[in-house]
């Protein structure tokens, strides 16, 4: 059963500083990937953290008919998982232990230990990192660490999966692999996936919907061919660029030069 997320009149800020003001994101559908793109400091991380209940926010975030903003941290965690952009440093835990702790740490979903272990392993296998299970997080490469971090989010099987630049440290093989996996996951479980990406072509390839954020406002929102256009790129990213389809029909973005602002 696919679920739907509705965001209405969301205000998010830090202290007295407002970053996102009165933002509406109608009907984010489950079963498909939604990409959130935008320049640095546009507010992507801030928005995702607010959706996860990590940043205080005013307004409404509804999952079907559950009002998420009314829930506690533990309540949020039953429905939503957020994968942070920053990865932990200097941790003496193995990949497997870290994945397991994602399941065991919240009282509500304490599973029988054997079941939790099997689930953790299955997740690592699907991400292709089962061979890293017993390696320490602090002895992994940056990309491996990112995959391990992704595993910790996915293993919780949330209804809403929020991924903050999960592929920023990955090589092209793993980028494609992760994107395919995330898309499959969305389809299989009917879950809502919002993924922050800087690679717009990648977003266009895997997401059914692209939301472009600029200065905390929505600059474009829709199917890739609707949202990603030369005027949008000029206005939001300050670049002169062409959007073309390659022989296989995938959107390609060719950036010619930066525009003076």
């Amino acid at each position: 059963m696919a679920r739907t997320l509705h965001v209405e009149k969301l205000h998010v800020g830090y202290g007295r500083r407002t970053v996102i003001e009165s933002l509406d994101l109608p009907a984010i559908a489950g079963g498909e990937v939604t990409a959130l793109v935008g320049p640095n400091a546009a507010g992507k991380t801030t928005l995702l953290r607010a959706l996860a209940g990590l940043n205080p926010a005013r307004g409404s975030v509804r999952l079907d008919d559950i009002e998420l903003t009314a829930l506690s941290i533990a309540g949020h965690a039953r429905h939503v998982t957020y994968m942070p952009q920053a990865l932990p440093q200097r941790v003496a835990l193995t990949v497997f232990e870290a994945t397991l702790s994602a399941l065991m740490s919240a009282r509500e979903d304490i599973l029988p230990a054997a079941e939790a272990r099997a689930k953790a392993l299955a997740t690592l296998e699907r991400l292709g990192i089962a061979d890293l299970a017993m390696r320490g997080l602090d002895e992994l490469s940056g990309g491996q660490r990112q995959l391990a971090s992704l595993a910790q989010s996915i293993v919780r099987e949330p209804a809403v999966l929020l991924l903050d630049e999960p592929t920023s440290a990955l090589d092209i093989h793993h980028q494609i692999r992760v994107m395919q996996f995330v898309e499959e996951l969305a389809r299989e479980r009917g879950i809502i996936v919002i993924i922050v990406l800087h690679d717009i072509a990648q977003a266009a390839r895997f997401a059914r919907r692209i939301v472009v954020l600029q200065n905390g406002r929505i600059a474009a929102d829709g199917a890739p061919e609707v949202a990603v256009t030369p005027p949008m790129l000029a206005q939001v990213y300050k670049v002169e660029a062409r959007v073309e389809r390659c022989s296989r029909g995938m959107l390609q973005i060719m950036v010619d030069r930066p525009l003076e602002s």
Binding site: I73, M83, A92, M104, S105
Partner: protein, 351 residues
């Protein structure tokens, strides 16, 4: 083995890892018990080991002086060493996790300095809490200040937007503040009071009594189960605060409760034996090198490491200078540092 084939390799490896850690924690327990027995058997009065053990099992067979030596001196000192080591190490381990800082410990974040200030007020200015028996006034004052110092950290932590770095900085600022206040009191102190204060701050097990032992044992028994119950949460917190919160962990609450346990453990220990600087910082590091940071093993291993090191330090304090009981606070670092360095290097070779 038939079921090894059925179990996927990583799960089998994990099961082996768990078994190894259980063995390490059990081994630490054995080391601690041996150190404790060794500690009880050592002393200036040269009682034969056999007599000591017989005296522990059947106190009635002992001569009166031997009974006093074993039951009123050696046993309380030795047990105090174990309990103080355990309490300070557990406090240090929790602090390092919740403050996400490997340098955090009751000593480095001002708890000991605050206790010293309380002791200085009692010894030098004769400050007294009305209604307390004479022997309890100094520990009580030390406790009040030590506990208060962690409560101040606590209050700061509850302000919105205080990061853990701020807490650590604040703790370090407290070290300097209380040290300055102690120096100020020392400046006006009489020669005799000054000497007492210096001796107090060296940390000594000679202040152990059965009542104090009971008090510290009670605090440990009260806090340790809650620490262990929070171990998965603390493990997850190692993955980062955002991560932990997104797993549904109320991090602020976890930090609050943990600091409360830390303040009880550290303040009671420091109040009873004085400043012991090294255990709370290094025992968790040794435990981390041995069992990693799955807190189900990390916390007990820290506790046992602390107890064992402190116990060995107590032995050393009796035999280093024959005929003299050195203040144990001086010896802990001398015992612990070589051990710690050896472990770091042995670990480095393996990598």
């Amino acid at each position: 083995m038939t079921d090894a084939a059925a179990t996927p390799a990583p799960l089998a490896a994990y099961a082996r890892l768990i078994r190894r850690r259980v063995a390490i924690v059990a081994g630490l327990g054995v080391v601690m018990v041996v150190a404790l027995l060794f500690d009880i058997a050592t002393g200036p009065s040269n009682l034969p080991v056999g007599e000591v053990i017989a005296g522990l099992l059947h106190p009635s067979t002992l001569s009166a002086p031997a009974r006093v030596i074993i039951w009123e001196v050696r046993l309380p000192y030795a047990l105090m060493a174990v309990l103080v080591g355990a309490a300070l190490a557990l406090a240090g381990a929790e602090m390092q996790t919740i403050l996400n800082n490997p340098l955090a410990s009751p000593f480095t974040l001002g708890v000991s300095s605050a206790a010293s200030f309380g002791a200085a007020l009692a010894l030098v200015l004769g400050l007294a809490i009305p209604g307390l028996p004479a022997g309890w006034n100094l520990p009580a004052l030390a406790f009040v200040f030590a506990f208060g110092s962690v409560l101040m950290l606590q209050a700061l932590a509850s302000l919105r937007g205080t990061g853990v770095e701020t807490l650590v900085l604040f703790g370090i600022a407290m070290v300097f503040t209380f040290n300055a206040l102690v120096a100020l009191v020392q400046f006006v102190a009489s020669q005799e009071a000054l000497q007492q204060l210096v001796f107090w701050s060296m940390g000594s097990l000679a202040r152990a009594t059965w009542e104090k032992l009971a008090g510290l044992a009670f605090v440990l028994a009260l806090t340790a189960p809650f620490s262990l119950a929070a171990s998965w949460k603390m493990t997850a917190l190692r993955l980062g605060e955002d991560r932990a919160r997104s797993f549904g962990i109320a991090v602020a609450r976890l930090r609050f409760l943990s600091l409360l346990r830390v303040s009880l453990l550290a303040a009671t220990s420091v109040a009873f034996v004085g400043t012991i600087g090294f255990i709370g910082l290094v025992a968790p590091h040794i435990a981390r090198l041995l069992v990693g940071e799955d807190h189900r093993f990390f916390l007990p291993a820290s506790l046992l490491c602390g107890a064992a090191i402190m116990s060995l330090a107590s032995v050393a304090s009796k035999i280093l200078v024959p005929g003299t009981l050195l203040p144990v606070g001086i010896v802990t670092a001398l015992i612990g540092v070589p051990f710690f360095i050896a472990l770091i290097f042995s670990r480095r070779e393996r990598l």
